[in-house]
């Protein structure tokens, strides 16, 4: 009973990082304003060489705070992943995941930005965002959330991963043959093609391993509607 009350009164887990991030953003904003108003904006605009002045202190403190915040976020993320792994080992169940997280796969569309940045600025790294399409796999992983990982499930998982990795390797091999091996391909063109291809292959592999596992598992369930 007391535990229920405690958990009800406890703030959500996402709240402290969000509040911390908001505080960091507000302090950084204030430091930028201070720097622009009282320090000539010397830490806001690009400079050739830096020499310390006491008026730089607010901005430096804000930057140090931001760095500490990012480190804390990484520590929280790592702690969460380790805790989840421990729980999976103890309960032998798949991790709890909301299928709606599959919507994060839409972030993969950010890769299309590369078609603008590459010809205009020569930047090809946005093509790497295509890898976010792999998050679509969360949709199928979420559908198999918190189920017992018995030996048949593990076999299916291994089978699905193997098939996904094999598909990925074949695509990467073909990509290398097409871009690298093609005598007429210029390095300027090969780089973005490889970046796009590898990002998409990574996404496909991540997605396929979850999708195939779901298919193997789900097909079993479908044709096994049987009386007890």
């Amino acid at each position: 009973m007391n535990d229920q009350k405690k958990s009800a009164s406890r703030s959500p887990r996402w709240l402290p990082p969000v509040l911390g991030g908001a505080a960091c953003a507000a302090l950084t904003g204030a430091a930028v304003w201070y720097d622009l108003t009282y320090n000539g904006g010397r830490l806001v605009y690009p400079m050739d060489s830096y020499a310390f002045r006491p008026t730089d202190i607010p901005m430096l403190l804000a930057l140090a705070l931001d760095a500490a915040y990012v480190l804390c976020l990484f520590a929280l993320l790592l702690g969460g992943i380790l805790a989840q792994r421990r729980q999976i080992a103890v309960t032998n169940r798949t991790r709890k995941l909301n299928p709606k997280l599959g919507l994060l796969g839409v972030l993969g569309l950010a890769g299309l930005a590369g078609f603008y940045t590459y010809p205009v600025y020569g930047l090809y790294f946005p093509f790497g965002f295509f890898a976010f399409f792999g998050f679509l796999g969360f949709f199928f992983e979420g559908k198999m959330s918190n189920i017992l990982m018995d030996e048949r499930f593990r076999e299916n998982a291994a089978k699905a991963e193997l098939k996904a990795y094999r598909t990925g390797f074949i695509i990467i091999f073909l990509l290398l043959v097409i871009t690298g091996g093609h005598s007429g391909a210029s390095s300027e063109l090969a780089l973005p093609i490889l970046m796009t291809g590898i990002a998409l292959t990574l996404a496909l592999t991540l997605f396929l391993s979850e999708y195939l596992l779901y298919r193997y598992d789900h097909d079993d369930a479908l044709d096994l509607e049987e009386e007890e």
Binding site: L148, D150, R152, A221, L224, E226, E228
Partner: protein
């Protein structure tokens, strides 16, 4: 699965267990028991022994390989 016959259903019913109960006893999902009863899944030695103990029948009578 060629050459594999599974008599698990017979022994399970004799023991008065449902698929769910047997699954819980041996630590697998109900779907795995269903697959086994249809002889569409080849169990590990450990699972076969666990099932044999749970239904109280010898392994070689539950799982028959030609």
């Amino acid at each position: 699965m060629d050459g594999f016959t599974c008599n698990l259903k017979t022994y399970r019913v004799l023991k008065g267990l449902t698929q769910g109960e047997l699954a819980e006893l041996v630590g697998v999902r109900r779907e795995t028991i269903m697959r086994l009863e249809k002889a569409q899944y080849n169990p590990s030695l450990k699972l076969a022994v666990d099932i044999s103990r749970a239904v109280g029948a010898p392994i070689e009578e539950i799982f028959v390989f030609d």
